[in-house]
Symmetry: C2
Subunit: 241 residues, 2 copies
DNA sequence: CAGTGGTCTAGACCACCTC
DNA sequence: AGGTGGTCTAGACCACTGT
């Protein structure tokens, strides 16, 4: 069958809605029909079926396993991250019981990092990249940058400490007094997709944070990439008066 | 050419990177080569080229116009929305000088709305749906729900007032004292894609808000869908001690 | 080995825009 | 009429998983 009305609902979207209905009652882990079979059922092509499946995977309702099949995913256990006190480590260590150190090295700041840390271009920065996991599943990648010149031997110190903030406090007497954060949607690059077991191009939540010391100088710039199908962020507001 | 190494960088992603390079120096509005021509250039299929183009469009770097071509988009003028004082209207009216009323009616609450407003299932709610624009371009859709029983004649009052909060204050003596907000990524449904001039399935930012009156009862539940390629949200934090 | 998802191809027809 | 993007098709080969 050829095309269709423009501005009508795309065919893949109708397939998606039908699939959504079909999997509504199924338990996590339940296998759904193979893509080729679904294409026959819906009298469409595998490409169209895959487009529908991809959106459902991106929304966290299905999981694909190469060579095995497509399965109903765990209930969208969207974790809620409170944005209230990012200056403590408590939260991170609470939500992510385990984390793997991916990178700990000294690099030359690219233009964005040097801008955010108010350094000259190419200044040396310590880069700390961690993979955060919950119940063994990779969920977020956090990359923090701090000026290397201000914190000599930081790399060494970090090997003995659990957290960056702890090291800053104990070895350099610095407490972070202020922070700005932004949240936006980005598409997952290949390397991060592999580490997080997601698909390349899947929408992710990017939380960027800049933290300041008491003297008002920026001390840390961090980028945290969260799986968009697993997380949401939360804030609370109270009226001043 | 057939396939490729699994876990290698997908071909479309290489095309995307090359295109990114090519458009780096071009001004907004500049037309790029047609899809069929790009497919020849990169010695690949149109499908693959379109996959790369789609990601660039989603990131806000390109714009597609049916029948005309593909063009370099305006610089990613990502607007930053402060999350600090959502209880005032000031912000909304400041950032979005114009807004169109899409819907103003009374409906039966679905399960999510009744849950959030602590109503019984199917209770009647006033639904206010607005399209927010900046410089004539549609940027967000905001849908607010309030219990109909608590605010009689609200529909009528809203026709005379600029804002919901203003009407609540002046006609019912209610000021909102508290609010919770969550931010997550969702995929754009067809109707909203049409209204916002985006693509179906494009990643969007969904901000959900529940506001409480002084007596602690939930008064408003609102869902705001922002174009993911145009917005980011920002918060500031200050250490208590 | 057969079956699954992962990627890519070549080409079709449509709707839209411009000339 | 011709070119553009929008959607869909049928089918190919690959990598991976199970038997």
């Amino acid at each position: 069958m050829p095309a269709h009305d423009t501005h009508a609902e795309p065919k893949y979207y109708q397939v998606k809605k039908k699939l959504l209905n079909d999997i509504a009652g199924l338990k996590p882990g339940h296998a759904i029909a193979p893509e080729r079979e679904l294409a026959e059922q819906f009298r469409t092509s595998r490409t169209t079926v895959r487009q529908a499946l991809t959106e459902l995977v991106v929304q966290g309702l299905l999981e694909r396993a190469q060579g095995r099949g497509t399965f109903v995913a765990n209930p969208k256990t969207t974790q809620t991250l409170q944005l209230n006190h990012p200056l403590d480590d408590i939260q991170a260590n609470d939500i992510f019981p385990t984390s793997t150190l991916l990178t700990l090295d000294i690099e030359h700041a690219d233009s964005e990092v040097s801008l955010r840390l108010e350094l000259r271009g190419g200044a040396r920065v310590v880069r700390i990249e961690k993979l955060r996991l919950t119940s063994g599943e990779p969920m977020a990648i956090e990359t923090a940058y701090v000026p290397a010149s201000r914190f000599p031997y930081l790399k060494r110190h970090l090997k003995q400490h659990k957290s960056l903030y702890c090291a800053l406090r104990e070895h350099y007497g610095i407490t972070l007094s202020q922070a700005e954060e932004t949240i936006e949607t980005v598409l997952c690059p290949p390397r991060e997709a592999m580490l997080l077991h997601t698909e390349v191009g899947a929408p992710m939540l990017l939380l960027s944070r800049r933290s300041y010391a008491d003297d008002g100088t920026p001390v840390e710039f961090a980028r945290s990439l969260y799986r968009g199908d697993r997380y949401k962020f939360a804030t609370k507001h109270t009226r001043p008066n």
